[in-house]
Subunit: 122 residues, 4 copies
Amino acid sequence: MIDFLPDKPIYQQIMEKIFGDLLKGNVKPGDRLPSVREYALEFGVNANTMQRVYKELELLHLTETKRGQGTFVTEDMQRLEELREEMKQTLVTTFLNQMESFGFTEEEIIVQLSSRKRGELN
Amino acid sequence: MIDFLPDKPIYQQIMEKIFGDLLKGNVKPGDRLPSVREYALEFGVNANTMQRVYKELELLHLTETKRGQGTFVTEDMQRLEELREEMKQTLVTTFLNQMESFGFTEEEIIVQLSSRKRGELN
Amino acid sequence: MIDFLPDKPIYQQIMEKIFGDLLKGNVKPGDRLPSVREYALEFGVNANTMQRVYKELELLHLTETKRGQGTFVTEDMQRLEELREEMKQTLVTTFLNQMESFGFTEEEIIVQLSSRKRGELN
Amino acid sequence: MIDFLPDKPIYQQIMEKIFGDLLKGNVKPGDRLPSVREYALEFGVNANTMQRVYKELELLHLTETKRGQGTFVTEDMQRLEELREEMKQTLVTTFLNQMESFGFTEEEIIVQLSSRKRGELN
DNA sequence: GTGGTCTAGACCACG
DNA sequence: GTGGTCTAGACCACT
């Protein structure tokens, strides 16, 4: 299939996975995340790459670093909810824009969505 | 907002534009496309960049090159329809997978889509 | 399939066709060939392109031009035989070199040739 | 001799060399290939030219690129075998078609092949 | 250091 | 005038 959507950088993919875990509640506010080194091993990536993931998460205020203790999920539920909402809007808007830019009608979109919803989401 | 969607390379953006024109029927099968140099001027990019666009389009069998004569839109309507269908499916599937990976429920998706559909698609 | 063998220029394809006609005896020594314009029409190519074909054929001493009368196939049978022999050797040598450069064994070549020889030659 | 076989572009020649190395087993699946810049030096070509080579190899699924890490030979042995087989068939078929188009008989082909096989393959 | 993108400009083959 | 190849060199993103 056409790859108009290029591979995403590894650090983003990992970020998205962690972000997803948060949004899905797999990880709770206040939880301590694995250390950079642990995660680096788990994902099989370079420690530098994992560093960057944590750095970006912190910039989003999704995590907080406590010196010598590790990295923790923010307890700021409001922030989480905000990001979740932003994310939802962005994804939906981007999707609709793309569909429109390729000339798909609203009806086609609905039909295709309906037919997929019942299939595997993978 | 989070930039999970990084800037795409110029040549891809142009490709998508032309692809969209095709799918939307703005450009007809058999039509001669502007020359590499003409398009390069129009889009304000280097001729090499434009050349790459045409090369990629040719790999997708969307265009055909006739030596010294120019680049033409494929007359293979079936191929076009195929790509259009593939594209639709890919975009929808990718969208739903993303939504799911961030833990959005089916209902949320529907609500968000409905509220956007009536707004500007941009 | 992989196209390591890029499209040949039109004038070469036409040259080869005429050359093949000569070698196969479809055209006899001394025969008058169609005019540039006639051929250009027949092949649907630009007259310039056809001009080039004739020019190249003349360089190979396969044809002779008589002013105001047209282009004629050489009567020099020896020259024809020479070219035929050269051609055979070149094609075979090139073929074997290519096969070897891709690491095909002599046995594989023989097997593949045998299996093809009995099939359609196109 | 007649040059029906024009110079191939540099990037294709390099591609074929690497492809040959793969088919001959000089390079093993999973091996890391020299970096774009290293190869560019070795072959005395521009880095962009080498980049193109790698890109085309990737399109054939012969190599895989890992960001920031380098280019690796595919571990997909089946894909390799497929390409090898395709290549063999294409070369043989093309050869036989050419011979036929120039009016060489089956017997002539066999004789010429036999006489060459014992000589240097170059 | 790795690959990827882009520019600028030259040169060629082809029609 | 058309597309195709190649070079030289800059800059970026990623690991």
